[in-house]
Assembly symmetry: C2
Homo-oligomer: 405 residues x 2
Amino acid sequence: MSLGLVETSTLTIEDGIRLQSRATLRPVTVAYEIYGELNAQRDNAILVCHALSGGAHAAGCHPDATKPGWWDVMIGPGKAFDTRRYCVISSNVLGSCYGTTGPASIDPRSAQPYGSRFPVITIADIVNVQRVLLDRLGIDSLLAVAGGSMGGMQALQWAVSYPERVRGVIAIATTARHSAQQIAFDEVARRAITSDPAWNSGDYYGSRRPADGLAVARMLGHITYLSDQGMADKFGRRRCALAGDARDAPRVSTHAARAADRPPDFEVERYLHHQGQSFVRRFDANSLICLTKAMDYFDLAEGRGSLADAFTPSRARFLLLSFSSDWLYPPRQLEEVAEAIRESRRGCGVCGVASREIPSTCGHDAFLLEHAQQAPLIASFLDLCATRSVPGGTCGVHGRTSRSA
Amino acid sequence: MSLGLVETSTLTIEDGIRLQSRATLRPVTVAYEIYGELNAQRDNAILVCHALSGGAHAAGCHPDATKPGWWDVMIGPGKAFDTRRYCVISSNVLGSCYGTTGPASIDPRSAQPYGSRFPVITIADIVNVQRVLLDRLGIDSLLAVAGGSMGGMQALQWAVSYPERVRGVIAIATTARHSAQQIAFDEVARRAITSDPAWNSGDYYGSRRPADGLAVARMLGHITYLSDQGMADKFGRRRCALAGDARDAPRVSTHAARAADRPPDFEVERYLHHQGQSFVRRFDANSLICLTKAMDYFDLAEGRGSLADAFTPSRARFLLLSFSSDWLYPPRQLEEVAEAIRESRRGCGVCGVASREIPSTCGHDAFLLEHAQQAPLIASFLDLCATRSVPGGTCGVHGRTSRSA
């Protein structure tokens, strides 16, 4: 069953937010949507966190839109995030371009878009803004926080930043810190943008935008979102159909050296071009740079001794889902998270970590596509969070910090 | 022992080359080097084929150079390609920018560099130019042809294009056809170049070059040349050392949004920037586009029924080497080649295919780095090619076409 029409609300935090860099960003506006009702005990709220290019619109339909929200198959009456039972909140992240304050927002000091003056932000800052939003909504405690990819980082960060406010964490296709390879892919994407002559250090608003660079960045992203096998299944070496005879035997275009003008030879090339072009119409280059930097800086262990130490204050249950063919966020990264949480709870009796590698050929995109496999795992995890007290018990650490019912 | 000083020769094919696209390129100049002596029987010649950004200078030193050739550890007296015993020939490929005719060469019709008018070429064209070079050198038969990556494609193409002229094939870290993912990476690299405003459809000679786009293309290439594990070992999440205090706690630069101006945060970013910049100084963007298209078009099975059918005329021995962490040319691609050759020889008694996956964390770059593991395999393979007749025997197909001693 679908949620039907939904709408986006906004909240403005006039005092702004003190960032991890110690700068203050003021004011901060947050775009958010709510699906379902908060119960009388105010204990059925679930925060859903989006990935790099997502927004607050996670479920239902906007009056003017042809497509439902990005996780509509998962959120709604009778779905994994059952809105007859739970109150699901979804907000656009700080630094994005879908209603929450980001580089394209107006800087009140100059009455111009921030552009190059937008401050560095971190995943902890993003989560801090969500925390203020929940404060304003009168929600002290989350039944669960859930997300995939960058959304999964936010879910893990919640457990570390606000351990007393989270009873369940669902982190999908994500990591506790970017590897060198993940940083490297992000940096090539950023460099493609900053090499675009329209970039102008990020101050391109009101002028031509770095569209070519942003398209290249997104093309690269899409390679990393699919698996080798998935691409082989979807495109193989299929050529693009062409009017005329430019592709006759021996199957080499006579104009391939004219790369700027030529049409794509292979279907996979056409797919990437399409993805690049459609992204340019809907996303802001500064947001891509800002958010990939936040992901690259993300390291839950940093400044906390070890990853296990970072999770020690948390008494949440964890559901960690990865996908066999996801090579951008390979399953072993979440296995490391599971190990760290288990280590932090050694001696507690109950561990509270469920980690599952789901077989899929969809690569990283699987977190948005493999509903049938994810939905029952998430539904029963949420049921467990809602109906049973938080694991733990008699150990020194968790006995003392227990806030469970 | 080193070869000492060597020099590059050139041969000009005045009649030019008829290309697979049916166009004729005239004249064609080939840059090549020879290490060791051709014996009286003229049967000890080995052709060594370079990868995308390599050149004819494979071994020894040029008088003005600080570094030896790209495979110097493998070629020389007493080395895997033992120049006391074999005559090793290395030539720069058609379409490159190191002495052989390519897009930067002067088109005699216009007295200008070819640029956008350089024709589409294929791996078969590259091999055809090598064949003409060997004809002019009076070499009818190769003891072996060897190469890694794009060089390995040439080695395999030799066995298919000129089966009667090749007794041994050493193909390393390569494939018989690019997958959708391989095409996709190449297309993003090309698009980075063609998005550079200096690109001008490839007619940028005598003007500013598309250096930024070429640097981005090379940065991306380098991610695919290393393995995830190799990158983690080499760089991890290490930060760049900075003068001043810009990197103090909380470990986020306050200027990261100024991406165009900012120094790299992480060591892996600095490494990629360095690789991009040094590539721009030594390679031509049109050559990168021309050669990546040749690799993408490469498909030994195309037009030949099956991959096994493509290899049916060949009576060569094959040594196929792949590396466990090479995700750009994963080992299973060469295993498919091995299977196809075995299938083409079913019933021949002797198979003549040795396939080996070498353990390494060096990723695709392993073909240039893992000397200790490759050298003995190559040396004994060459010895086998030199001292024992070609496998085969009494089967109908191979019995008839046998040219072995």
